[in-house]
């Protein structure tokens, strides 16, 4: 083995250790606080429940005066599919919140509490650090999201009709990679910013829920005329939009006569794969560039700016 390849091997090993080292506190540390079960699995279910009851209330009122059993069954099937969409969207909300608050804002948070300078002095790649955060975050959030999903499906009697399990798994993981890639890119931007970072994360909650259709099928935008189509086009740059739509199509095939879907699940998966690659590459370059800029401007470790 040459000296060069031995050095490369050592660097890979070091970075893998860094990934595991940063993922560890997220997997183990967070679970040492049992209060997460209430705060992150039970409470989000209440938000989902509210949206479920809105659909039920609107659906029930829309049936006032309807006597045709076929029409009643058709309306109820549409409402049930919307309820299923809300439960799935509510589950994915956990990942979006994790991307915003535990990925994008994390380097800023580390700067505030004084850990960032320690990370910067360590000989690992910054991408390994972000990769570890993403891996730990994905695991931690998946545990919470699965809890929310299972309880949501049981409590609201959601009927799932899984048509293609492998495609569903592929869409889910690619969407997660794209989302966390986006988080890694935002994390590097936030490195340069001060409190704008916190406010931007707060700003990216409801507007993204709205654009990406966490509570309704995003394809519905296309029925809203020009502005709806414009919002939908912009929303496709957020991986959750197409990922969620593809998952809904796989789980609720034939819902609403297919009128509210955006594209086919396969095409949506392909686009999300492209988004994942683009975000990861962008994360690498923006991290290097903005770290350099932050060092030059002396903002890398300045707190409370």
């Amino acid at each position: 083995m040459t000296v060069e390849s031995a050095t490369r091997l050592r660097r890979v090993k070091l970075n893998l250790q860094a990934v595991l080292g940063r993922a560890y506190p997220r997997v183990v540390g967070a679970n040492r606080e049992p209060s997460w079960i209430f705060f992150e699995a039970v409470l989000p279910l209440l938000g989902i429940a509210a949206y479920v009851f809105i659909y039920q209330a609107l659906g029930n009122r829309s049936l006032i005066g309807v006597t045709d059993p076929a029409k009643i069954a058709e309306v109820q099937a549409s409402v049930n599919a919307l309820i299923g969409s809300v439960v799935l969207g509510g589950t994915m909300t956990a990942f979006w919140l994790n991307v915003l608050w535990s990925m994008a804002s994390q380097l800023y948070w580390e700067k505030e509490i004084g850990n960032l300078q320690l990370y910067m002095m360590a000989p690992m790649s910054r991408m390994a650090l972000l990769g570890g955060m993403a891996l730990g975050g994905m695991f931690m959030t998946s545990v919470r999201a699965v809890t929310t999903l299972v309880v949501g499906v049981v409590v609201f009697s959601v009927v799932l009709q899984l048509t293609n399990a492998w495609l569903l798994i592929a869409v889910f993981f690619v969407t997660l990679i794209a989302l966390y890639g986006m988080g890694m890119m935002l994390a590097s931007l936030y490195l340069l910013w001060g409190r704008e970072a916190f406010n931007l994360s707060a700003l990216l909650e409801e507007p993204i829920y709205f654009m990406s259709g966490f509570q309704f099928p995003a394809g519905g935008f296309a029925t809203m005329g020009g502005w709806g189509r414009a919002v939908l086009t912009a929303a496709t740059f957020v991986p959750a939009t197409l990922g969620l739509d593809a998952m809904r199509q796989i789980i609720f095939p034939g819902a609403w006569g297919g009128r509210l879907w955006i594209l086919s699940p396969e095409l949506e998966l392909a686009i999300v794969v492209v988004l994942a690659v683009v975000f990861l590459v962008l994360a690498r370059y923006t991290l290097a560039y903005l770290e350099k800029l932050a060092r030059q401007e002396g903002r890398l470790t300045s707190r409370h700016q």
């Binding site: 997460w36 009851f53 039920q56 609107l58 058709e74 509490i113 704008e196 709205f210 259709g213 009128r259």
Partner: protein
């Protein structure tokens, strides 16, 4: 009393500076209203998509009910978050809780003061959301000048109630890890479900309706809607709370007072337990 007022004023100024001085005022206002307006848009889309999916005629009365309920719900999120996040932002983010806590002021009053700026910004967002609803979606409001004093009184009682609930959560936050965002998402979700904010209580299962009627915010939303929506809209929806406004106001007064007293008790208890466990200035970063 003068000490409390002084603490409130300075804490309110501090809260305003912390919330707004990171950017230009115009951008700050924009940031503050985009979230609630987007939240209203979610419901608007849900409403239109349900009727597009089912092919049934739309229901303007229900739309008005949902839209106004959601607009006033902005106060819930803003006020609650503005109150309980003080503990965690001072403790974990700015790490100034030691200095503030050991200064000769009432920490309870300090938190109320810190929440004031968020209440004001929430008020602005409510107005913008309602105006937007009227302009863009043809929302019909019916505000009589005779109802104005009653409206102000109801709004005041609602805010007292919300700040009291926020202080109860602040008391609990003394003992918990940094769950601000879990709380900010979850607790308003609790009221979203049980208080008939977006649908009448009658849409809920019977046992859940009982929970809703035990929460004062249910009456606050009912009174607020009755004061600003046309009578015909309210009459077409069975809210499950009746139409005796004075009776509902009496319930709101009594329950606001009860929640105020409860907030003092829970806040003091949380504070006591945190001091005993050495958690007043703990850091929970992972």
């Amino acid at each position: 009393m003068r000490e409390h007022w002084r603490t409130f004023k300075i804490a309110a100024w501090l809260g305003w500076e912390m919330d707004s001085n990171w950017t230009e005022p115009a951008l700050f206002i924009l940031y503050s209203v985009i979230k609630p307006v987007a939240s209203a848009f979610i419901l608007v889309l849900m409403y239109f998509i349900l009727f597009a999916a089912t092919g049934r005629p739309q229901d303007p009365a229900m739309f008005a009910y949902i839209y106004v309920g959601n607009a006033f719900f902005i106060f819930v999120g803003g006020t609650l978050f503005g109150t309980f996040q003080v503990i965690q932002s001072d403790r974990e983010w700015y790490q100034t809780i030691r200095q503030v806590y050991t200064s000769p002021i009432s920490f309870y009053t300090y938190i109320v003061g810190r929440a004031a700026s968020k209440v004001i910004v929430a008020g602005l967002a409510v107005v913008i959301t309602l105006v937007f609803g009227v302009a863009a979606f043809g929302l019909q409001l019916s505000v009589s000048p005779w109802n104005l004093p009653m409206f102000v009184l109801v709004l005041f009682l609602g805010l007292v109630c919300l700040i009291s609930i926020g202080l109860c959560l602040a008391g609990i936050s003394f003992m918990t890890a940094r769950h601000t965002h879990g709380l900010a998402e979850g607790i308003p979700g609790l009221f979203y479900v049980f208080c008939g904010v977006l649908y009448p209580l009658t849409a809920l299962p019977a046992w859940v309706q009982g929970v809703g009627t035990a929460i004062p915010l249910t009456y606050w939303f009912q009174l607020t809607r009755a004061l600003i929506l046309p009578e015909s809209t309210m009459q077409s929806i069975d809210t499950g709370l009746g139409s005796d406004s004075l009776g509902i106001l009496a319930i709101l007064v009594v329950s606001s007072l009860a929640f105020f007293l409860l907030s003092i008790g829970i806040f003091k208890l949380g504070e006591h337990l945190a001091r005993k466990a050495g958690k007043i200035d703990m850091l929970t970063s992972y």
